[in-house]
């Protein structure tokens, strides 16, 4: 029994964090949101070059052949940076669905982002930047190449996640992929992304609470603020081991995989909403402004908390596993 990551896994994640902190600042994130299609091709190329996008692509397709345990810390770092674009859909769901096909090459070299709508979502994210779309069809998974979207692109709450409606999901290529496994992968990767995002929001709130003074002292010295943040940290830190455990369950395809993934996503979604609300409250009116960078992270959290199944959806799946189906 050993519940820890290898030094290689830690080092890869640390390298990614360093690159993102240096190159992908909040100012650059804001620029991506406010101009163009919510995608940063230069960042995407950088992630491809580092091997981040190809972590889960099999070695036979030029990827690194990693499993979910190798990947989970990387997704967490991308969440900490609120990296835009179809991160989860490409590097996890896409890599699992398309590994072993010729399409995998476009993930490895960064040329072809992939997106997905495997839960029958009405609004499909990232279609403007991802030509390949994975959809659930007839109990399996189809790949649509440049599908037609209805009525053009829709602006969403999260500027790094533009939406569209697909009216016709027929005519795709049937893949030999397990739909349940892919939806679990999407939920778990989103949970890991949310964990990074939550950590970042609390860090931003902590910086503000140390800096902002009222009544002659930093507001972080007031117990009301301390306890607000401690409670949010509690939720975030108790989601962490559930996410790491689910990564192991996924990598080893254990019988409890679905339960563990759902527990991770339920806790991560709830924690992210709590972190966002707490961080906003710590900021006061400044947090309610467009210019405050916190909004970029909060809106990402609000968009992703329900994505790939809400906390409630996943809690019910845990209930079915633990208490028996209804």
């Amino acid at each position: 029994m050993q519940f820890s990551f290898t030094s290689d896994q830690h080092e890869f994640a640390a390298g990614l964090r360093e690159m993102l902190e240096r190159e992908f600042t909040a100012a650059r994130l804001r620029h991506v949101w406010e101009s163009g299609d919510g995608h940063d091709p230069a960042l995407w190329a950088r992630l491809a070059e580092m091997g981040v996008l190809s972590m889960m692509v099999p070695e036979s397709e030029g990827g690194l052949g990693g499993d979910f345990v190798d990947t989970v810390l990387l997704v967490e770092e991308l969440g900490r940076a609120a990296a835009p674009g179809p991160i989860v859909e490409t590097m996890v769901v896409g890599a699992l669905a398309l590994g072993g096909t010729t399409w995998a090459a476009g993930i490895v070299d960064g040329s072809t982002p992939v997106t997905a709508a495997l839960l029958g979502e009405r609004y499909v994210p990232h279609t403007a930047v991802a030509p390949l779309v994975l959809v659930a069809h007839g109990g399996g998974v189809d790949l649509l190449d440049h599908p037609v979207v209805d009525g053009g692109e829709i602006e969403g709450l999260d500027g790094g996640r533009r939406l569209a409606i697909l009216t016709d999901i027929t005519g795709g290529t049937m893949l030999s992929a397990d739909l349940d496994r892919l939806t679990d992968a999407g939920a778990l990767a989103t949970a890991a992304y949310l964990l990074g995002l939550s950590t970042r929001m609390l860090a931003i709130a902590g910086d503000y609470a140390r800096d902002r003074r009222q009544f002659g002292q930093p507001i972080g010295a007031f117990q009301a603020v301390k306890h607000l943040m401690a409670d949010a940290l509690l939720k975030v830190e108790f989601s962490r081991p559930a996410i790491y455990r689910a990564a192991w369950s996924f990598a080893n395809d254990t019988p409890d995989r679905a339960r563990d993934v759902s527990m991770a996503k339920a806790l991560a979604s709830d924690a992210a909403l709590k972190a966002a609300r707490s961080a906003l409250q710590v900021h006061g009116a400044i947090g309610y402004t467009w210019e405050c960078d916190l909004q970029l992270f909060m809106k990402k959290a609000w968009a992703l908390a329900p994505a790939w199944g809400s906390a409630q959806h996943h809690r019910r799946r845990v209930a079915d596993a633990v208490l028996g189906p209804r």
Binding site: M1, Q2, F3, S4, F5, V69, L202, G206, A209, R210, Q217, P218, G220, A221, F222, Q223, V225, K226, H227, M229, A230, D231, L233, L234, E237, F238, S239, R240, P241, A242, Y244, R245, A247, W248, S249, M263, A266, L267, Q312, R315, R316, V318, A319, V322, L323, G324, R326
Partner: protein, 383 residues
Amino acid sequence: MDLRETADEQAFREEARAWLAAHVPAEPLPSFDTAEGFALHRTWEAELADAGWSAVSWPVEYGGRGADYLKWLIFEEEYWRSGAPGRVSQNGIFLLAPTIMEVGTDEQKARFLPPMARGEEVWAQAWSEPDAGSDMASIRSKGTLSDDGTEWILNGQKIWASRAVWADWCFGIFRTDPESSRHKGLTFILIPLDTPGVTVRPIAQLDGDTGFAEIFFDDVHVPVENTLGGVGRGWNVAMATAGFERGVSLRSPARFNVAVERLIKLWVRIGDPDDDTMRDAVTDLWMQAEGYRLHTYLTVTKMLEGGTVGSESSLNKIFWSEMDVRTHELALQLLGPEAERLDGPYESWVDGFLFSLSGPIYAGTNEVQRNIIADRVLNLPRA
């Protein structure tokens, strides 16, 4: 990362399970907060010790098995699953012993640990004072060195001393430098409760039992050899204990997993399957207990790889204590009118509810823990 148990860990688990199945009393013992129950729990501790199960993580020479913390967690899982009695020696084995191992002399280890493991000497803790509760650094009970320098002469009062009514020894911190204030000038001292000048006055708890007591010290003489960790270093020594207490050892996850499993059984038996709110609430508690278990495994792996448990242990303390209250609140809600009966078939849930309410208070209130998290984990400015 490998979350499977090794063959060695599995064998250890099976050995513990088999022994417990053969030895755990068929009928639950009376509460150890009663005279009769205390004596029976003491006998149980000796039985555990005879088979080497009393303190599995201790070195063999002091009565343990030299097991690592993962095995200790495995033992705890089997222990709570088996329905074995509560540990009357817990203050000694789980709180004091780690401190003795860390800062005690070889003589102290040899003198105190074996009888502690055997339940021959049961320990009470003596931290709080009437004016030093959450603000523990305002301790006023005094220790004065005798003229010949061989004894401490103790005067003052401790309160909320769990197990003190029937225990043999207590440990606490005393102000040994009269000029000092706050965290300085305190010394950690071990005191036999039958020493002349010690008066123990039981306090009836919310549940009616006398689980804790006041201890009065009136010119109590104890040898200076009973100093643990150096004169004037009492605060640091006490904090080492408190960190371990909150972090890992005080409440291992298994008791909460077992409590939630009982709650699930109760829900299956008497819950309304169409009541989604209750179904969700029970599921949330299952996730919390499971989350606490995973968090503990993460912490223990970190310790085994050379890390330490710091202030983040305060997160654990808040988490398990609030989860325990919620588990029992939910059970009482499920029980409806039955929850009012003290002697009915669901007595253990009512007792457990009252006991759970002490969790957010003892071992440092949860408000103090939130301050610690904010100051030392989130690095917010001190008030």
